[in-house]
């Protein structure tokens, strides 16, 4: 394990490099072979490009917001429409980030690439459905851009009634976009559940699956169960605008709190759609880069499922001040605490995994460690907000803004970047500059904290969210936050440059650059279009005892004393019977 000499005499297993006709990136040429591809890896790469574009544009909007807040009376948008501009910019920032970036980021982009390979399957169960998910995403994105072009959107990403039924901005376009994106998300989740259930090769039992797959499975459950409710909510909202159906619109005796119930029944589970895949990524990253078996495999696996299910019981914590009944608020507050238990279990397990491991501080590991810091802060502040009495004070302040940025940016985005750096050599067959990657990780960590730590203070002092101007007493903290944003932006740019540069200047990546034991490291980098010629030998995904550093070739190799290879012909399909 790890650095050391390779025991002599044993058989060294390394798949080598793919030929151009095997490599999934080059095995067929032309734009159409990409646009109409059914290969999950190419679809994953297209998603990756898509979500990064969305992230980039929403990031620019964020920059505008923060620059505007540099001065108490607003620095960027001026004139009589300044506040409307501000409202539209933060709405689009939030909506694009949530619906177009964070939700599809890890599951759709990386998940598509990784799930079948990690599983040892040839493809996802429904390749055509997979491609249509991608195009639904594209259409949804077009609708959002359309909303932007038409007359903006100023409801916030939450589309709360009654404002969303009366504003004259393009709510219908945006909600149709979100509706379509919802279907994209549902189909991706459905595809993964079926893939994991029915496409496992012989030997791949539930408890030999990498934790990323468990997390993806849990995420998919939420996608399938919660997203349809968003669909119907948005449909009813559209109907409300078109013909005033009077379900949400108080003008017609509807109840806006009902809208919030509908919306959060999806959107709280949706925050777990965002974070669960990140948990999966971190479990794998921590274990591989500590070269140590993951601590408490089953706890982590089950806690993903537990979070997915418990996540359905707490949506009311977003509505404590919205006028819910006193009994409901108390129940929801109590239930909110239960869901933090499985999250904490994971954090402890990661720490225990690192303990006495031989940690290599590679770029992905730097991101993984920042994740643990940032997510812990984000999760703990969630408990402040879940407490009734404190939430009365903190609701709709910058404290909430800071909380969810700690979990969504500090959690999901950071782990997305970690995953990107971890699997980049696998996806594109190129090594990037380690120094550059680590620099990016450090700058992002610092920039992020500089941006959002002050916001906790701002919020607890009473600075409300979604305001275009503020009291001068808050100026210093706002300015620190804006400066932090610039630093964060620099860090992200560095990361982008490092990755793009590797495509042209990077060294060829070996099959197993990190010493991972999961199946994706057993095929070449990049993988051949068919993933595996025959069902791969499935071992323990976190057993690093027969993986050694080959100093000569700068790669990790698997040294096999004698491990049984699964029969190549007529394998029994691993059809699932129940969950376990």
């Amino acid at each position: 394990m790890s650095a050391g000499s390779i025991p002599s005499g044993d058989q060294i297993k390394d798949p080598g490099y793919p030929t151009a006709s095997e490599n999934y990136l080059t095995n067929s040429k032309g734009a159409l072979t990409w646009l109409l591809t059914l290969d999950h890896k190419r679809i994953g790469v297209m998603y990756l490009i898509g979500v990064m574009t969305a992230f980039f544009s929403a990031g620019l909007l964020a920059l505008l917001i923060r620059l505007h807040l540099f001065r108490p009376d607003g620095a960027v948008f001026t004139g009589p429409e300044a506040n409307n501009w501000y409202n539209q910019v933060f709405t689009l920032h939030g909506a694009i980030m949530v619906f177009l970036f964070i939700i599809p980021s890890i599951p759709a982009a990386l998940g598509n690439f990784l799930v079948p390979v990690m599983l040892g399957a040839k493809d996802v169960a429904f390749p055509r459905l997979n491609l249509s998910s991608f195009y639904l995403w594209v259409f949804g994105a077009i609708f959002f851009v359309g909303a932007l072009m038409a007359s903006g959107l100023d409801t916030g990403w939450t589309f709360y009634t009654p404002y969303s039924t009366t504003t004259d901005t393009s709510v219908i376009l945006a909600t149709s976009g979100a509706f379509i994106l919802g279907f994209s998300s549902i189909f991706t989740g459905l595809n993964f559940i079926v893939t994991i259930n029915t496409m496992r090769p012989p030997g791949m039992t539930w408890f030999r699956m990498p934790l990323f797959l468990w997390a993806t499975y849990a995420t998919s459950i939420i996608q399938v169960l919660a997203t349809p409710v968003l669909g119907i909510t948005l449909l009813l909202l559209i109907a409300e605008r078109v013909m005033h159906i009077g379900i949400f619109d108080p003008e017609f005796n509807g109840d806006p709190v009902t809208f919030q119930h509908f919306f959060w029944f999806y959107s709280h589970p949706a925050v777990y759609i965002m974070i669960l895949p990140a948990f999966g990524v971190i479990s794998d990253l921590i274990s591989v880069h500590s070269h140590k078996r993951i601590f408490g495999y089953r706890f982590i696996a089950y806690s993903s499922i537990a979070i997915a299910l418990l996540g359905f019981l707490v949506w009311g914590h977003h509505m404590f001040t919205a006028g819910m009944g006193p009994m409901t608020t108390i129940i929801f507050s109590a239930l909110t605490f239960t869901v933090s238990v499985p999250s904490a279990i994971k954090v402890f397990n990661w720490l225990a995994t690192m303990y006495k491991g031989s940690i290599s501080l590679t770029t992905p590991m730097c991101f993984a460690i920042s994740f643990i810091f940032l997510f812990t802060i984000g999760g703990l502040t969630g408990l402040h907000l879940g407490t009734l009495a404190t939430d009365m004070h903190l609701h709709d302040t910058y404290f909430v803004v800071a909380h969810f940025h700690y979990v969504m940016v500090g959690g999901t985005l950071v782990s997305f970047l970690g995953a990107l750096f971890h699997w980049w050599p696998k996806m594109f067959g190129k090594m990037y500059s380690e120094a550059g990657g680590r620099l990016a990780a450090v700058i992002i960590f610092l920039g992020f904290n500089l941006t959002f730590l002050p916001q906790f203070v701002l919020g607890s002092r009473g600075m409300p969210r979604r305001y275009a101007t503020y009291d001068p007493e808050f100026q210093t903290l706002h300015q620190v936050s804006t400066l932090g944003t610039l630093l964060l932006g620099v860090g992200l740019l560095v990361a982008l440059v490092v990755l793009l540069r590797s495509l042209f200047k990077g060294e060829r990546a070996p099959a197993n650059p990190w010493g991972g034991a999961t199946l994706e490291w057993q095929c070449t980098s990049p993988p051949p279009f068919y993933n595996f010629e025959r069902p791969p030998a499935v071992g323990d995904p976190y057993d690093f005892s027969d993986i050694f550093w080959d100093t000569e070739n700068e790669r990790y190799v698997t040294v096999e004393p004698d491990r049984k290879i699964a029969p190549a012909e007529q394998p029994e399909p691993a059809h699932a019977e129940g969950t376990h």
């Binding site: 169960l225 003008e251 005796n253 509908f262 006028g323 819910m324 009944g325």
Partner: protein, 136 residues
């Protein structure tokens, strides 16, 4: 694979349902429909919704078990499908109980009487005039 465990080589897995069974399920469903419609003409007060829902659920169970082959399907598929109802119940129970608690505060928001209707909508200025005398 409870009913047809020995799917040799994964080629023999069809499980056709005999025609008499299909027909008897259909007639049972029609009979239940007639019963629901018939009971609707008796007034049994608040029990009404319960009776109606029980009959509908029996019908649904018949459709699911036989027409949808659930009785012969894999247990996992059955669990997947039935669990959706648990989540629906969750959604309904929380949302309804909350509405019940809060409804005294908001319902009805706008009383629908003739004169008030007009006064409540400022844009209808011309009609508002007619109701002004009552308002003063």
């Amino acid at each position: 694979m409870s009913a047809h465990g020995d799917s040799k080589d994964g080629y023999d897995f069809a499980h056709p349902i005999p025609v008499p069974m299909l027909l008897s399920v259909f007639f049972a469903l029609v009979l239940l429909t007639i019963i629901t419609v018939a009971q609707a003409s008796f007034d049994i007060g608040s029990l009404d919704i319960v009776v109606v829902m029980v009959i509908a659920t029996i019908k649904a169970a018949l459709v699911m078990a036989f027409f949808m082959h659930m009785a012969y399907d894999k247990p996992f598929n059955v669990i997947v499908f039935l669990s959706s109802f648990a989540f629906v119940a969750l959604f309904l129970i929380f949302t309804m109980s909350d509405s019940k608690q809060t409804s005294p505060d908001f319902e009805p928001v706008i009383e629908e009487t003739a004169s008030m209707e007009v006064a409540a909508t400022p844009a209808a200025a011309d009609e508002a005039e007619t109701s002004e005398p009552t308002a003063e």
